[in-house]
Point group: C2
Chain length 336, copies 2
């Protein structure tokens, strides 16, 4: 019931608490003989160090916070998986907060992070966050921050993301190579950097080929459910031969609408998406996609944050992850 402390051990062995502490930490000042005595006693008494006390004394917390705006079924699980991998043999534990895309909650979380004296914060800003004062407050408190996914590029904060422009380019370019010219791009919330950049990638391909961008082919939705109303109209247009979706969630809704309208992939409609890969590989036929791996992102993000922690802010401000095209069977060739 009562927890064994270093003091209990010291009384048992008739040595000071300092000796116990040093012995357990393998300090060179302590003789091998006493080290063994102490360790054996600790073992037999089932002593467990009190991390609270330890970290408190050391003015550390051993905590890294992960702040997410929401729990997304396609990205979050694999992302956390990656984060955990990076954390595996680190001395840090993971505290998770959820902002529900609410700026007020996000600020409240920042407050908690400061109070907890977390050592680092890995955060995807909420959709509605436009200013980064609260993040700077974190840095002012000596807490290392790293933004991912939803970053604000103008801000001078440490960030990590994939090369969104190139990722979109790769996907749309593939459709182009197969002869498609009427490609609908489906994107998320226009305010997000991630969206802007992927739209830019889409447009780049048209520009590169000297063709005009049809702006009614660029679809942006705030909520993916909106696709259930918009897509039927798009899919009815016989001109459109290919669709590019910028995320798994949008791909999910798009796929279901395609099925609802009894269209075949790729005969009636070609499809390419930026995706983690699970959904594309489990669909029939398998969907061609540009791999934006949640796990890779999670691992890289946590790895760089830990590196930041070890060499206080010495790392580069912006880390960009590359993506690869995974060709499956959702794109057909058409004559130009």
């Amino acid at each position: 019931m009562k927890r064994i402390t270093i003091k209990d051990l010291s009384e048992l062995l008739n040595v000071s608490t300092s000796t116990i502490s040093r012995a357990l930490n393998d300090h060179p000042d302590i003789s091998d003989a006493t080290k063994k005595r102490v360790r054996d006693a600790a073992e037999s008494m089932n002593y467990k160090a009190n991390l609270q006390a330890r970290f408190f004394r050391k003015k550390l917390s051993g905590l890294i916070a992960l702040v997410l705006p929401e729990m997304n079924m396609f990205y979050t699980p694999s992302f956390i998986d990656g984060v955990n991998k990076a954390l595996e043999d680190s001395p840090y534990s993971l505290v998770i907060f959820q902002s529900n895309n609410d700026v007020k909650q996000e600020k409240n979380i920042v407050e908690q992070c400061i109070q907890w004296a977390v050592e680092g914060v890995l955060i995807a800003l909420s959709k509605n966050t436009t200013s980064v004062e609260h993040i700077q407050e974190l840095e002012f408190a000596g807490i290392e921050c790293l933004l991912f996914d939803k970053i604000l590029s103008e801000s001078q904060l440490h960030s990590i993301c994939i090369d969104n422009v190139k990722a979109a380019e790769k996907g749309v370019e593939l459709l182009f190579e197969h002869g498609h010219r009427n490609i609908v791009g489906i994107f998320g919330n226009r305010n997000l950097n991630i969206t802007k950049e992927r739209v830019m990638g889409y447009e780049n391909v048209y520009i590169k080929h000297g063709l005009p961008v049809s702006y009614n082919h660029v679809v942006t939705v705030n909520e993916p459910e909106q696709l259930d109303f918009i897509l039927p109209f798009i899919l009815e247009s016989s001109k459109v031969t290919g669709i590019f979706t910028m995320s798994d969630e949008l791909l999910f809704y798009t796929l279901n609408n395609i099925r609802r309208m009894n269209l075949r992939i790729p005969e009636d409609m070609s499809l390419v998406s930026i995706s983690d890969g699970i959904l594309p590989n489990q669909s029939y036929p398998k969907i061609t996609y540009v791999k934006d791996s949640g796990e890779k992102m999670g691992k890289s993000a946590m790895d760089t944050l830990i590196r930041q922690l070890e060499q206080k802010g010495a790392s580069s401000k912006l880390t960009i992850l590359s993506t690869d095209l995974v060709e499956n069977h959702s794109v057909r060739s058409i004559d130009v």
Copy 2:
């Protein structure tokens, strides 16, 4: 840079640290006048309480651990969502650990929980966990535990789960009512309680109707990928008219196999699943399912754990959540 402490405030205002502490905690011993002085000073100096020190002194940690065997795309996000909802206006923060279905890692996590002096642990045991010594070790350390999802019913530990038997019964019974008699049940790892109970539910329906259970209609797989090899044989059998899957993951793989074989739902094959509901509602046609809500489970679990914490273990050992049938369009009626 340097953090403001209660001592800084006490020097600034020429009062003792005890007064500062009491003033900030609205202790009745302190006059309104000094309370105001202290609060104003704290505000202007941007003082933030050090939770580490506070909890350490109070012999508490303010931490609740969530231990998951893996990150599942269908269940985990909504579950964590629910957990966060329950945590929202509680004084606890959430620490997340992942056991990767490895007993050794699970024990290691338990160790960490003890060292951190977390106040409660919400845990889904790993697939390979058969003994609960390590959980008892937690309880012995005075930490409240609550098992969910993958529970061990024989153990005398606090647990929460849905009524698995009834949930399966509801699903299979619906197929029966619509005239189906050759129903294949698709289940997960046989060692898990959750599987055993759902299989039992499946069998109960046959028994109730005085029919024998065909054991080649009860399919159990350890990894859902195995379905890609097994399902083609099952789906070719013209006798089978209905499928019952016990989880979203299995439904996912089943759906894709049905599509691969160009079978129509429900004309060629009727389908019912236990599910959170996202996948069934986004498929075409919408799949009929027994709602096992991850969010509801997460919220209920964390709510009861917090209740346990407040009235030290006074709650009932086993909490069982009910489920509802959601009828969509994946079951056709056939003549008996």
